[in-house]
Every structure is written in structure tokens, then in C-alpha cells.
Symmetry: C3
Subunit: 202 residues, 3 copies
């Protein structure tokens, strides 16, 4: 039951990440295949770097559904383009839910591989935020990562909450839920109130 629920959220998160990549690619007038690739890389880039760094089998090579879900994202962009523009807020919420789940997955995989909590927090952040960095490199834009509203920081805050609850003796479910909700809340508040980190003066 819980597994099915998490699976459903991962599908939604993957679709949301892929759509964000595909939409940026369409602005740049890429062809369909290029747009599909950018969408795929946005969705799986972070987890791929995580798995390579952890030296574990790369997740999207174990089941074909990540490729299929990205195909569904492409179909959604092509068929429902006008609807998407009107539902930016819904996309943001999907994207944020996906982000939170990706962080939780990154933390769990790292701990399961035997790494300490501080590595897990970094890997949670990489899983959530690095796909967007690769996307920006591929479309030859300066990564949003470095200026955007609290984004990677929300991943790290979620990871720290995960840690604190583990230290406090909270169970698995509580750790995951609190981590995800922290990331979601921080991200949505940051977008709503236009929070951002201070710029480093040069």
C-alpha cells in the first residue's frame, strides 16, 4: 500500500521534472527527440549522478518505466500545451512534491549503501537539484541553481530535519514525512514570498 503510494508520487514527480525540461527545450526550438532527451535528463540526471557516486546500479537502467513516463510527459506537453500555461501553479506543486520525494529517495539509498548521514544529505540534494543543473548545461544556459529562490537549500533543510528526527529517535515514516514536508513547505513559501539567499558580493 505504502509502496504503491510512493510509486505513484515518484511517477508524478518524474513527469513534473520531465515537463519542466521539455518546456524549456521547446522555448529553444529543439526537435522532438532533443526535447525528449532534455526532459529525460532533467528527470533522471540527479539520481544518475547519485548512483554513480555511490557506485550502485543506475536506477533508470533497472526498469523501462522512467523512459516511458518521460514519453508521457512529452505527449502531455504536445497535446495540452495551452492548458499547461494556465496551470503553472499545479505544475509547481507537482514539481515540488517530486523534489521532496527525490530528496527522501536519495537519503535512503545513501544510508542503505552504508554512507553516514552527512553524505546522505548531500546525495538527497543532488538527487533533487542536479537534474535541473544538467538541463541548464545542455540548453547552454547558466544554471538557475545558482540564483533561484531557495531550491537546493530546501533539499538540504529537508535532509537536516531527517537527521534531527533520526537523532531524536523518530521512526522511518516520521523521518521521511517530516523531511519531505519541510522541503515542500520551504520551497512553496520561498516561491510565494520570493525569498532568496543573499548574493555574494564580488
Amino acid at each position: 500500500m505504502e509502496a504503491t503510494f510512493l510509486f505513484l508520487i515518484e511517477v508524478i514527480g518524474t513527469i513534473a521534472f520531465a515537463i519542466s525540461g521539455i518546456r524549456l527545450a521547446s522555448v529553444k526550438r529543439f526537435d522532438w527527440f532533443g526535447a525528449y532527451t532534455v526532459g529525460l535528463v532533467t528527470a533522471i540526471g540527479g539520481g544518475t549522478l547519485r548512483d554513480v557516486l555511490l557506485d550502485i546500479p543506475v536506477f533508470w537502467m533497472q526498469t523501462w518505466w522512467y523512459l516511458a513516463v518521460t514519453g508521457a510527459a512529452l505527449a502531455i506537453v504536445v497535446l495540452f500545451r495551452h492548458l499547461l500555461v494556465r496551470h503553472d501553479r499545479m505544475l509547481l506543486i507537482f514539481d515540488t512534491i517530486g523534489l521532496a520525494l527525490f530528496v527522501v529517495i536519495g537519503i535512503q539509498k545513501s544510508l542503505a549503501t552504508g554512507y553516514p548521514m552527512w553524505v546522505a544529505i548531500v546525495m538527497g540534494m543532488i538527487t533533487g537539484a542536479f537534474g535541473g543543473v544538467v538541463r541548464d548545461i545542455l540548453i547552454n544556459e547558466e544554471p538557475l541553481f545558482f540564483r533561484k529562490e531557495v531550491y537546493a537549500t530546501a533539499c538540504i533543510a529537508g535532509g537536516v530535519v531527517y537527521w534531527l528526527i533520526a537523532i531524536g529517535g523518530g521512526g522511518d515514516i516520521l523521518q521521511q514525512a517530516a523531511c519531505g514536508l519541510t522541503a515542500i513547505a520551504l520551497r512553496l513559501l520561498a516561491v510565494h514570498y520570493r525569498w532568496s539567499l543573499p548574493v555574494l558580493k564580488g
Copy 2:
């Protein structure tokens, strides 16, 4: 005999890929070492990503000849610059043959590592097309990959033909030959008739 023949084609393909990288680097006025590096990365980038994702020893670290062949490519560009301009068509054919062989190698390595056919097709495409993506990232150009005439698509078409013949019970040689010829034919036809995939409207 067959091994020698494949080795010869791989040398030709590596040289063709390296030359394409070195020529782009010379347009950007890179120094010799920078041009060599861009050539090398164009030639080995796809196979390197493939080997890292498959978690097998990286191919160019097992024998020094890939580095040597890239040196030969640099010498060719320096010494025969004027000839190259007049023989663009020959370079295209070498490049396309190299591409086709890289796809076949990528598929075979993935299957030998125990991955299913759909992963092998993706790895064949990565082996053939990703070197050019890294090249474009290094010289800070938007990857051609995303707009160019049918290129990555030709790799995938070759992979699908490989699959169909495997399903149909065709032998190893037939699979490889049909895969390579499909990629070559599709690529050359696409260049000749200026085929390209439709642009995704934004």
C-alpha cells in the same frame, strides 16, 4: 580476420570523431593541447559515459592507442588542413561509419554486461552521439544534438533493427551488419535530403 577488420574501422571512426572535435576547436582558436583534448573527448566521451553507467572498466584506460590515434588526428588536421576542407564528404562518410560501429559496440557491451535490449539500444545511442554533446558543452555551444539532422535517431533506429533481427533469430553477424547499415543509410539519407525531426512548438 574479422577482429582486424573491426579494429581498423574503429581506428577510422575514432580518427573521424577526433577530427570533427579538433576542427571545431580550431575555429574557436584553442591552443594545440586544448584542441587535442576536445578531439579526444569527442572520440571517447560517449564510450566513457557508457562504461561508467554499465560499471565496467573504462575502455580507453585499457590501451594507449585511443590517445595515440587522437594524436594522429591532430597531426592530420595540422598537416592536411587544406585537403580536409575539400574532402568534407569523405569526412562525413568516415564519421558515419564510425558512428555506426560505435553503436554496435555499445549494444554488444551492454548485452555482454547482462542488461536487456532496451538498455543496450540506449547505450548504443549514448556511445555514438554523446561524445558530440560533451564536445559542444566544452566549447560552450548549444549541443547540435538537439537540432541536427537525424543523428541520435539513426543510432536508435540501428538498435531497433538489431533487436528485430535478434527476435527473428538472425545470427550475430547479421544483427551487427544490419544495425550498422541502418544507421549509416539513415544518417546519409538525412544529410543528403536535409531530413530533420519536427521542432517542438513552445
Copy 3:
């Protein structure tokens, strides 16, 4: 004793590399977290690629001090901005010492993993020079690597000296010292006399 000395040099080199990344990020007006990330990637990018290619555990995931040292580098940039501008020469020397040590570490790790000397020389160069390439990709600038004064070349020269002394029967310490000093001397001379490799004509 020697271990403590090498550790101290590695800290200094890491700080110097991180500072170079953070300063470039501040020119681009990145936020604090983005600047930290660029600094970190500059300091650990080369070693990370080396460890992934060698298929050994990634060095910065084994101890938290690389992340801490990068934090110290960020604090230095924020607190002593004006001093840094006046001490560009000191930064160059730190950066060059770090470069030399990174080359030595890259060579030793590769040999310890069982690779031949020519792979070790390439890995020494990647350890020293690749972090700067990733930094330039992240800030969306054309990598300096490809035009800069003798830089990657100094790494390779150091590696070749390491090799020659190994062939000549010199001991470990002599190999390391001669390798490092060669890289340092070549780099500083190149900066002082504005040496650069010839540009490849297109």
C-alpha cells in the same frame, strides 16, 4: 610527520581552488549557496572524475573535511575580500602548490589501483585541471583550460618527470617531489613570462 605535512598542503590547495571558484561565482552575482557549490566543485571536481573513472570510492565522501574546508574558503572570501585583491600573487602560489599536490595524488591513486603509468599521468592531469573545467561549465563560460597559459601541460610535464625518475630507479619521495616541483616551476614560469601553447589555426 610527512602525512601531516601532505595533509596541510592538501588543505591549502583545496582552499585555494575553492577560493578561485567562489571569486568567479561572485563576479557572476551568484547567491551564497551557489558560490559555495561552485567553490566545492572547483576543489573536488577533478578528483571526483578520477575516482569514478578508476572505479574507487569517491574521496570527498569518505571524510567531511573537504566540505568544511570549502566553507572556510567561503568565509575567507566574504570576510577578507579586500585583502584577497591585494594578494593575488599569494593566491596564485597557493593555487599552484595545490595543483602540484593534486597531480601527485592523482598519479599515486592510479598506480595503487593497478593502472600503468600513462593512465596515471592522465589521471594526475584530470585531478589537477578538471575541477576548473567543471567550474567554467557551471558558470557557462568557455573553459579557460583551452587557452590559458601552460596549465594542464604543467600537470603532464610533472607526470612525465615522475615517470622518468621511476624508470631511473629514484625512490618514492624523490618521484613525488620532482613531479610537484616540475609542475610548480613550469606553471609559475608560464604565468611570469606569459608562455602559452601555439593556437591551432583553423
